[in-house]
């Protein structure tokens, strides 16, 4: 299936959940990102049960604390 990850179209195996997607996309730690799934923000405990479908949109927004 195709997903739009941070605006970029990428292909993934069917049936992957958000927690697995974080691993495949090399996000070192789920604590580092906020996940926006089709516009809605997921809580961390929801990653396992969230299954994207073809053409869904996922944004990884990274924490940046510097100034």
């Amino acid at each position: 299936m195709n997903l739009l990850i941070n605006g970029e179209k990428k292909t993934f195996a069917d049936g992957i959940n958000i927690a697995q997607l974080l691993k495949v996309e090399d996000v070192e730690s789920p604590d580092m990102v906020s996940v926006q799934f089709n516009g809605e923000f997921l809580k961390r405990h929801e990653y396992d049960a969230a299954y994207p479908k073809d053409n869904d949109e996922v944004n990884f927004l990274y924490f940046m604390g510097g100034g």
Partner: protein
């Protein structure tokens, strides 16, 4: 709002000639009050441009002193300022840029105790702080006080910013909920920051403040703009208010408390 005098009309002529600003927009800038929290990497460019633009009253809040490792990016401060309060160093440079601006100095770190009393006197607030505890506190205070503000964060070669109009657009906590566990996300002192990247982001924040005051264009509401300077890629992710937001959602907050996280020792 007072009329601009002859010298101001000349001084701000390149603003006034802009159709989206004009005399009225510049008068609004000159009547505007902006609080800049943090006179460091982000605060330096923000403060220079706000002072140069003639913002009427500028609050500068920072409890820190200038350190040698600041000079690589905190362009308000010089070698001669090492050990001085950042606020004093900032006011000296900024007064030289524009003596018409009134500067209010808060040589203290903002906390749940003092922040609301300071924020209430300003039209727009800029977050130029360097810790998640401060960034969340500023968000919470601005939401409670219904003050529009600009969030900014930088790390390594990247930056991100959003402009927030409380209860009208997504707030920082709509997106990030709560500070990450201590140690899970590196600070600038651990991970590094390219000096000019602080400038890139700070200048965007200053532009948002000037747009807000003058009424030009559309603020960066309901969006988070992020960039990666290594590839020079900019991306705007669209947001909407999060009904489950801990701060501005239906069960929102009614008071402030400090976040427990060590301040990033930049």
């Amino acid at each position: 709002m007072r009329d601009l005098n002859e010298s101001e009309i000349e001084r701000y002529s390149r603003h006034i000639i802009l159709q989206d600003i004009g005399v009225e927009g510049q008068e609004r800038i000159c009547a505007g009050k902006v609080l800049v929290i943090g006179a460091g990497g982000l605060g330096s460019p923000v403060l220079y441009y706000l002072a140069a633009a003639g913002v009427g009253e500028i609050g500068i809040a920072d409890g820190d002193e200038v350190d040698l490792s600041n000079l690589q990016r905190q362009i308000l401060h010089t070698e001669a300022d090492i050990g001085r309060a950042k606020t004093a160093s900032a006011v000296e440079k900024l007064s030289a840029v524009n003596s018409n601006v009134k500067f209010n100095v808060y040589h203290e770190f903002l906390t749940a105790e003092n922040i609301l009393g300071i924020v209430k006197d300003y039209d727009f607030i800029i977050d130029g702080t360097d810790s998640f505890s401060s960034k969340f506190l500023i968000n919470d205070a601005c939401v409670l006080a219904k003050k529009p503000f600009s969030h900014g964060g930088i790390l390594r070669f990247s930056g991100q910013t959003m402009t927030i109009n409380p209860f009208q657009s997504a707030c920082y906590a709509c997106v990030f909920d709560a500070p990450p566990p201590s140690g899970s996300v590196p600070s600038c002192s651990q991970a590094g920051i390219l000096g000019s990247v602080a400038g890139m982001l700070g200048v965007i924040q200053a532009t948002e403040a000037l747009k807000f005051l003058s009424g030009a264009g559309a603020p960066l509401y309901n969006a988070i703009l992020s960039f990666d300077a290594l590839t020079m890629t900019f991306r705007k992710a669209l947001l909407k208010r999060n009904p489950r937001c801990r701060i501005c959602g239906s069960g929102g907050i009614s008071g402030l408390s400090d976040y427990e996280q060590k301040v990033c020792d930049l």
